[in-house]
């Protein structure tokens, strides 16, 4: 059961780390795109919107799902701890507590991934709204 717990642990944490890297890289990429975009090049509002909101859903998905994945890791970790206790009949509290503490680590990492992702998402959404409003004011309402 040791190897399974290690697999769950490192699998979940590795997944969360990959998600975090993806979210941050997309956020940085979007920021650069928004900074360099030329609103005058777009003739249609919808095409601008498509270009602006591209990939934002990935950040939103990561931000909303990272806590759940962390929670899944915690649940699996606690499950394994209880299974080990039941099987070996441990009375050793330190081992149990270590197992539970290590299980909670997954939730913590999930939250650590989720908080910046949600922040980035809201920040970028605001930028999108501002850019669309700028396009509208620049092109006039008649072309909508």
């Amino acid at each position: 059961m040791e190897w399974l717990s290690a697999t769950v642990d490192y699998g979940i944490i590795g997944l969360l780390v990959v998600m975090s890297i993806i979210a941050v890289s997309i956020a940085v990429e979007r920021l650069l795109v928004y900074r360099n975009i030329r609103l005058g090049d777009f003739n249609d509002k919808k095409s601008l919107e498509i270009e602006l909101t591209k990939k934002l859903h990935i950040i939103a998905t990561i931000g909303s799902n990272a806590p759940y994945i962390g929670l899944l890791g915690t649940v699996l970790g606690i499950m394994l701890t209880f299974y080990t206790i039941g099987k070996e009949g441990l009375i050793d509290t330190s081992k149990i507590m270590t197992g539970l503490a290590l299980a909670l680590k997954a939730t913590a990492i999930g939250l650590v991934v989720a908080i910046p992702s949600i922040t980035f998402y809201n920040f970028l959404l605001r930028k999108v709204k501002v850019l669309i409003a700028q396009w509208e004011t620049g092109n006039g309402r008649k072309r909508i």
Binding site: V17, S20, I21, I22, A23, V24, S25, I26, A27, V28, E29, R30, L32, V33, N36, I37, R38, D41, E51, K54, D92, S94
Partner: protein, 252 residues
């Protein structure tokens, strides 16, 4: 600008295209994450090091060698293991000593152990004169030589403390397991180290395990240590060396 943007959009819809921004974003993200990881590891390493300060580890080498291990002496040794008295420890010479902090001090000793194998005096005659050099007060007794199988003539079986045996170049002290310390448990771990002629540790075999994390601690410490190879008549050879690590608590 718009042209580039549009072509980039087309490429990214195809799936395998890296725009300038994407590459930049990925690099930034990876560097930020690696920075966080490095910070985390640096902190955790620092935290681990001051964990040891609640007790101190005293290393004593007891090299008591007699060529043959008679039965009565073996009994005395067992008796000695069970009473880690203060007096006994004082008799030994400490090699490494750190600052004492609390009520307990942990003494980790390595010494030679007795073997259950057949004694072969002829194979390693060197320890015989050595036996007289060591103090007679200590009753720890060990075999020095074993009957080496003829097939493995290039590998000698020996134990730490013998002449010609491998020695520590850098000795990593084992941590006294916290739970064992709290419960007041002591233990003895016997390891057999396979050390090649270059002094590289190839394998560690647990000959006599002990509970409460003693075995893990001992093996971990041995893996972090470096050794000088065994030598026979001035020639470096590979060896299987027995190493006994004792975890002894003593009340200050």
């Amino acid at each position: 600008m718009i042209k580039r943007r549009n072509t980039n959009a087309e490429v990214s819809t195809q799936g395998l295209g890296y725009t300038h921004e994407q590459r930049y974003g990925l690099i930034t993200s990876l560097s930020v994450h690696s920075l966080i990881f490095m910070l985390f590891f640096a902190l955790s390493i620092h935290k681990g090091s001051d964990d040891v300060k609640t007790f101190y580890i005293q290393f004593t080498q007891m090299g008591e060698h007699t060529v043959q291990a008679p039965q009565p002496v073996r009994e005395i040794k067992k008796h000695k293991v069970t009473e880690p008295s203060r007096k006994e420890i004082k008799e030994e010479t400490p090699v490494i000593k750190e600052t004492p902090v609390k009520e307990h001090e942990a003494v980790i000793r390595t010494d030679a152990i007795e073997s259950h194998e057949a004694v072969n005096v002829a194979s390693t005659p060197e320890p015989e004169p050595q036996a007289t050099h060591h103090q007679g007060g200590e009753s720890t007794v060990s075999n020095v030589s074993y009957s080496v199988p003829s097939g493995t003539s290039s590998v000698i079986e020996t134990e730490f403390g013998d002449s010609g045996a491998p020695a520590f170049l850098k000795r990593q002290m084992p941590n006294y397991p916290l739970m064992a310390k709290k419960l007041g448990k002591q233990g003895k771990v016997v390891l057999r180290l396979f050390i090649n002629e270059k002094g590289r540790l190839l394998n560690v075999e647990v000959v006599e395990p002990a509970g409460y994390g003693f075995t893990e601690s001992a093996v971990e410490a041995v893996k972090m240590s470096t050794f000088s190879p065994a030598h026979e008549n001035g020639v470096r050879i590979a060896s299987k060396a027995l190493l006994t690590i004792r975890f002894v608590l003593k009340r200050i």
